[in-house]
């Protein structure tokens, strides 16, 4: 059984009095440790699919199974636990908590699960949490800006904080929704490089990146092209390192 199994997944939104089908029978398998690019134009259903995998939304019909967990049928309480333990999310619009500074934004995520040291129970001491948050900020190269608030950071910096926040929980799955969508290409590529480095093959972390930008597709081990709520193409490839991308 594949790590992530999606079968006949459909989702219809009601907005006011109109209904829009966003996903229309998606079947997909993703293996553990794969870097998947979900590619397609706006309105193709990429974000919706990502939300279903992350347990942020529930389907109208069909199933999502992650690591043998039937995500699509979990109760709200278990969904929360699933998101907490397994998932890290990076949004297109960064979505940092505007009232917390860079460091605190990361701590806010680590607060949830604590810091595991060796075999024992995780520690929730604020000093240890702070230490770990700093470590992650350093990984994204923002240690010197840790006391800045989101409004004082550039878009690229915000996105790097957001990546640090997602990864500091050490999730098995990292979901990124248009992580470069609002960034200049140089900065965007830099963000992708960081993501690449922090989710390297050695860590065996499954990464799914949503993008409308075809130039990003070579980054993936697998590319899934969505069109009008359906899988239009699904292929594996030898990936290209982020620093070789150009758009």
């Amino acid at each position: 059984m594949a790590f992530i199994e999606i079968s006949e997944l459909s989702k219809t939104y009601s907005l006011g009095e109109t209904t829009t089908p966003a996903l229309n029978g998606v079947d997909l398998e993703i293996n553990k440790g794969e870097l998947v690019i979900l590619y397609g134009p706006s309105g193709a259903g990429k974000t919706t699919l990502l939300n279903m995998i992350g347990g942020l939304d529930i389907p109208t019909s069909g199933t999502v199974t992650v690591d043998e967990i039937p995500v699509s049928t979990l109760s709200a309480k278990w969904l929360t636990a699933y998101r907490k333990k397994k998932i890290g999310v990076v949004f297109q619009f960064f979505n940092l908590i505007s009232r917390l500074n860079a460091l605190e934004n990361i701590e806010y995520a680590i607060d949830l699960i604590g810091v595991r040291q060796g075999e024992g129970k995780p520690s929730f001491k604020s000093k240890i949490i702070r230490q770990k948050a700093k470590e992650y900020l350093e990984k994204v190269g923002l240690k010197d800006r840790m006391h800045h608030f989101p409004a004082q950071l550039s878009g690229g910096e915000q996105q790097r904080v957001s990546i640090a926040r997602a990864l500091a929980k050490e999730p098995e799955i990292l979901l990124a929704d248009e992580p470069t969508g609002n960034l200049d290409y140089k900065i965007g590529r830099n963000v992708l490089e960081i993501m690449e480095a922090m989710t390297g093959k050695a860590q065996n972390r499954t990464v799914i990146i949503v993008t409308h930008n075809p130039a990003i597709c070579p980054l993936g081990d697998r590319v899934v092209r969505l069109s009008d709520g359906k899988v239009a193409e699904n292929y594996t490839q030898k990936y290209t390192p982020a620093k070789e991308l150009y758009w």
Partner: protein
């Protein structure tokens, strides 16, 4: 956890002004709770202490006929002393007793006559040693000096503080007392717990010190004055502490039996301390004010809950994205709710602390105010009441919990995607043409899309939004109109009472009841220019009962004489009409007795059995029951009153001749100068027996002075109301504009100019204010009714509810100003929006 705390802190910091306004509302609620409830605890304690420190009598007992002259009017001091000492051998619980003279008579102060009471006590104790204070019913010297050893040989007196304050009496001044107008020198002014609140003659609703005062004399001087050497007419007894009312009454009964059976004395029923007029009225007064002090904070805090609810339900909407992110990270509902509860807790705690401190400050202002109003010569006992403070804190925090929990619980979506996808402008739109627009279209009124149509749509775009805006206005208008309505209802009732009900220009009260009233009236009308109508009343007291109810009502009975169609009083009939053969009752009396028009009631009236002298009137009475048919029910200021025909009252009371206490006259062209002139003329011609000549303006201002406290409370309520409404209005308007940020930015982008935008928003808020005002006035009226009829249910005043047009306009204008101020700041911010960003704020 640390981050949650930090998040709460930052969240508060970001919204501090708006959150502070809500904290302020809670603070106001807690202030009023702490301030008022504690004030009344203090009052109670102050009086209790005053009663205790001054050995307030556990019971008093008068002779059977304390106003008379016979053997049942007076008892020999020496005999009575030995009788009571004899009784004390079998009743050790009597701590002390005092034999006194308590006697109603006439004073003349600076040439003006008035009614009064003398209280006389021995300046020596039982061993014959001089003492400054009596053993029972002591007092406190406020100015001047106490009695000296020589006082018993002199005509000296101590005047009660109310009287002293009214006339600004000073030591060494003289006051003439009694029928003989014997001059007494004032030694000092005293405060007596026994006379904290004066109860005057029965007919007087609320005696002004101008009409009734108390003067203390040495016993011997009083005996000489009244010509009753060696006599007293009252026994005041102080019992051991801690006896129940039943015990006290048992002892009092035993004493009465003992004196009547063993020593053949005739005594009236003993009056327990709980029934003592001053003590009882004081309690009643405090009790009523205390209810007010509880209900007012409940209303304010209720509104704080409403305000918090509105604020929080809009705040969680505005912060939907942060909530979505927290959920996406894996925070559960409970933690997020806790976070918001944390915010509301902080608001509640800040509000509570502020309210508690303000409450204490308010107290230090309020307690003396109350003391001042009652001219109470006792220092208020101001301490911090921990149980009340703690109750206040609990109430404040509950307010925060309730107001914070429900809106947050309701607004958190189960799925983070929904929170992240959320569009506030759609959330607040139903996408329908509002009913009102469909109605006005029927009348071919079709506002322009760039004009009135937009604000009209905006108002009714969603129920929740409309509700919160209108709610804010309702709070404001209802509180303001209620507060001013209270003042106006009082004013209006008084105005009606004096302008309509009391149909006279000058009122003459006699010192001694003349028995030739019609002759005096005739002579006044003939001899004094400008008297157009004149009539006279006989006043008496009665207990009204009916077969319909077990209730009894003490009322003043006015015997009315119809002098050529002039009654001196204009009835405002609720039902029926005036008929000299029947009785006219007031609404509260009729209600209490469950009687209506044409029903029969019994009036228990004093009947003269033996006339000792007519001038001054000294007589023996017994009580007789007379049945009257109700011919009319009236609704007017004086709540405990019954009107009967003068002839019926005279025959029932068995008075000789044509008796009257009061002459009422109408004057042609009653200018103050003319009234003064006529007053002088009457005094010059008939001065010998005139106690007081009053104009309505004088009577009214005396009453108003007594109501000062009430007015002060209401003004405080009005100030609270305006503050509170500004706070809530500011919040709702702020959030409304926040929610429409993208729409406003779009309008500006496609070329709507600032002026038009401001105009549209102002029109919208104006209409909301108008709608809210209508409901607010209705709600204000209901609250007014609740306060005046349910809380301040004083049956001796009948206050008709009244809200003037002026108040309606004031409550609208004040609220509207609040709205305009409230819209200014968020609007300014919105007009300076970064259009490029605001039109692209990502939603969906």
């Amino acid at each position: 956890m640390a981050k949650t705390v930090k998040n709460i802190y930052r969240s508060i910091n970001a919204n501090k002004l708006r959150l502070f306004t809500i904290a302020l509302v809670i603070a106001i609620g807690i202030t009023s709770f702490n301030g008022m409830v504690t004030a009344f605890v203090h009052m109670t304690r102050t009086y209790d202490k005053a009663f205790e420190d001054h050995n307030m009598a556990s019971f008093t007992m008068q002779t059977a006929n304390p106003g008379g002259t016979g053997e049942d009017a007076w008892i020999d001091y020496v005999n009575l002393t030995s009788f009571i000492n004899e009784f004390r051998e079998q009743e050790p619980r009597i701590k002390a007793y005092e034999l006194r003279i308590v006697y109603n008579t006439i004073f003349e102060i600076r040439g003006e006559k008035q009614n009064g009471q003398i209280v006389a006590m021995n300046t020596r104790d039982t061993e014959g040693n001089f003492r400054e204070q009596p053993a029972v019913n002591g007092y406190r010297i406020l100015s001047g000096t106490p009695y000296s050893e020589l006082s018993r040989y002199q005509n000296v007196c101590l005047v009660d503080a109310h009287l002293g304050e009214y006339w600004k009496l000073e030591p060494q001044e003289f006051i003439a007392i009694g029928d003989s107008r014997t001059p007494f020198e004032i030694l000092g002014v005293i405060g007596s717990p026994e006379y904290l609140i004066n109860q005057g003659p029965f007919a007087d609703i609320m005696p002004s010190p101008r009409r009734f005062g108390v003067v203390f004399l040495p016993l011997r001087a009083a005996q000489n004055l009244l010509g009753v050497q060696g006599k007293v007419n009252e026994i005041s007894v102080l019992l051991e502490d801690g006896l129940s009312k039943n015990r006290r009454e048992e002892i009092a009964g035993n004493l009465k039996d003992f004196l009547e059976t063993n020593h053949d004395l005739k005594l009236s029923d003993p009056v327990d301390i709980d029934n003592q007029a001053s003590y009882w009225l004081m309690r009643l007064d405090i009790e009523e004010a205390r209810e007010f002090g509880i209900v007012l904070p409940i209303i304010i805090l209720g509104m704080a809950i409403g305000g918090l609810y509105v604020l929080f339900s809009r705040m969680v909407v505005a912060e939907r994205k942060d909530i979505g992110v927290a959920q996406a990270l894996g925070y559960d509902r409970r933690t997020i709710i806790l976070q918001y509860l944390g915010i509301s807790m902080v608001i509640a705690i800040v509000g509570t602390i502020l309210g508690t401190l303000l409450g204490l400050w308010f107290l230090s202002y309020f307690s003396p105010l109350y003391v001042d109003m009652l001219t109470i010569p006792f220092e208020p006992e101001v301490t911090i009441e921990w149980p009340i403070v703690i109750a206040g804190i609990v109430i404040g925090i509950l307010t925060g919990l309730i107001g914070g929990y429900f809106p947050v619980r309701g607004s958190i979506q189960p799925l983070p995607a929904e929170s992240l996808r959320f569009d506030p402008s759609l959330h607040i739109t139903t996408g329908k043409i509002p009913l009102i627009e469909r109605i006005i279209r029927k009348f071919k009124i079709n506002p322009k899309v760039t004009g009135l149509r937009l604000p009209l749509r905006n108002i009714f775009r969603s129920k929740r939004r409309t509700f919160s805006s209108v709610f804010a206005i309702i709070v404001s208008v209802s509180l303001i109109s209620m507060a001013f309505g209270m003042i106006e209802s009082m004013d209006e009732s008084l105005t009606f009472y004096y302008d309509v009900s009391e149909n006279w220009d000058l009122r003459v009260d006699f010192s001694e009841m003349p028995t030739n009233a019609s002759q005096i009236a005739r002579s006044l009308k003939q001899n004094i220019d400008g008297v157009s109508d004149i009539t006279y009343h006989l006043l008496s007291g009665a207990t009204v009962t009916s077969s319909e109810s077990s209730q009894k009502k003490q009322v003043s009975v006015v015997g009315m004489n119809d002098s050529d169609g002039y009654l001196g009083h204009t009835f405002d009939f609720h039902a029926g009409e005036w008929n000299p053969d029947g009785v006219v009752l007031s609404v509260p009396v009729a209600d209490a007795l469950h009687v209506g028009l044409n029903d029969e009631v019994n009036l228990e009236l004093p009947k003269l059995t033996k006339l000792v002298s007519t001038t001054p009137l000294r007589a023996h009475f017994e009580l007789v029951n007379i049945t009257f048919q109700i011919t009319g029910i009236i609704d007017e200021f004086n709540g405990l009153v019954a009107f009967v025909g003068l002839d019926n009252l005279i025959s029932a009371s068995n008075f000789p001749g044509e008796p009257a206490n009061t002459l009422l006259m109408k004057i042609e062209d009653p200018t103050p100068e003319r009234l003064d002139m006529i007053r002088e003329e009457i005094l010059a011609k008939y001065g010998y027996n005139v106690r007081n000549i009053a104009t309505k303006a004088e009577q009214r201002s005396e009453l108003l002075e007594l109501m000062d406290l009430m007015y002060n409370i209401i003004y405080i309520v009005a100030i609270f109301a305006v503050l509170l409404s500004c706070a809530i209005v500011y919040n709702t308007i702020y959030i409304s504009l926040q929610e429409q940020k993208r729409e406003i930015a779009t309008l500006l982008t496609i070329g709507t100019d600032n002026r038009k935008l401001i105009r549209n928003i102002t029109v919208e808020n104006t209409i909301v204010t108008l709608i809210g005002t209508v409901f607010g006035l209705i709600f204000g009226w209901i609250m007014l009714w609740f306060f005046m009829r349910v809380i301040l249910n004083m049956e001796f005043f009948r206050i008709s509810l009244f809200i003037s047009n002026k108040t309606i306009i004031i409550s609208f204008v004040l609220t509207y100003i609040g709205v305009l101020v409230a819209q200014y700041f968020p609007l300014r911010k919105t007009l300076n929006l970064n259009l490029a960003e605001a039109t692209k704020e990502r939603v969906v």
